[in-house]
């Protein structure tokens, strides 16, 4: 019985996340900011909500976007400072962190001068402060993740009555 309720809990969380993905059309609709490169506006541990409507959401300069590069696993939250759109509506984008002095060309790595639309995982439309602090703490102390997960599943298994 308890095992089933634990399973229900987990699948409920997964379904909620998947619904968010569907509504926002983004593969990561909620993003926790992991670096201080957008200070002072956006801090480590802040939560950003994203949408990624490729047709409707025309990206413009000044947008805060999350991008992923094939060579790197970590998504980066930065701001668009240049955008060039050609006649086929294909865009070349350059990004920069508000708190960084140079733009992101160095981050893009060798041979890449611009971001293209497929690199963009989403565009931020709302902001919740500190809501992702737990992720930051778990990121810094990975052991805590297992302790916490263990406690939660233990509680769900033992409790319930």
């Amino acid at each position: 019985m308890q095992v089933i309720s634990l399973g229900l809990l987990l699948s409920g969380a997964l379904i909620t996340y998947k619904i968010f993905m569907l509504i926002s059309n983004s593969e990561s609709p909620i993003v926790v900011v992991l670096s201080g490169s957008m200070e002072p506006g956006v801090h480590r541990g802040d939560l950003l909500l994203l949408t990624n409507y490729i047709e409707r959401d025309r990206l413009v300069s000044g947008d805060i976007v999350v991008y992923k590069l094939p060579e790197r696993n970590i998504p980066i939250v930065h701001r668009i400072i240049k955008i060039h759109e050609d006649k086929n509506l294909d865009v070349d984008i350059l990004s920069k962190g508000d708190n960084n002095i140079p733009d992101d060309r160095e981050l893009y790595g060798r041979g890449r001068r611009w971001l293209q639309r497929p690199n963009i995982a989403g565009r931020a439309f709302a902001f919740l402060p500190y809501a992702g602090m737990l992720t930051i703490i778990m990121n810094d102390y990975p052991q805590l993740k297992y302790v916490l997960l263990g406690c939660l599943s233990g509680l769900a298994l033992i409790g319930g009555e």
Binding site: G41, S61, I81, I83, D98, G159
Partner: protein, 177 residues
Amino acid sequence: MHALGPRINVFFTHLMTMLLVLVAIASSFSYYQLSSASPTVDLRISQLSFLRTISRERCDQAYLKFDLTADFQRMWTWNINHMYVYLVAEYVTDSHQRNEVVVWDTILSGKKQGKIERRGQNNKYSLKDHGYGLRGKEVLVKLKYNILPYMGPLFYGEQGQNSFLVPQNYTSKAVIY
């Protein structure tokens, strides 16, 4: 039935729900407030210092000077944490139908910093094209702002613009507008 565990659970679930509802109400109210407010802006591009090509990056580059007076203090509401204020150069070239290049930006942290007064300010980031398309083009420079709230939706706005004509030929001499 009346164990401590479930009680704490119910309490915190209720607390989180209430908090989220409050945030939603408060932030939609502040969004409405922001959408009916605007800053006063006076922007003028005063000079193009030079226009040249950068062969290493294979593009045109221009340096600009501008005068800007802007007042964000009157529109500053309780839910504005920081404001990212930026100047965007917008133009059309033969190869690209939409070019937007940020040439200057600043971050206002608090109402006290809400007044901007710059004379003969140099661009922070030079105006670099995607290729060699800048000569003879009309460039529209707009002042835009992005409000980073304490919570809720990000707000984007723009107010004030000025356009200038890039010279037909490369020049190392300043063009005064």
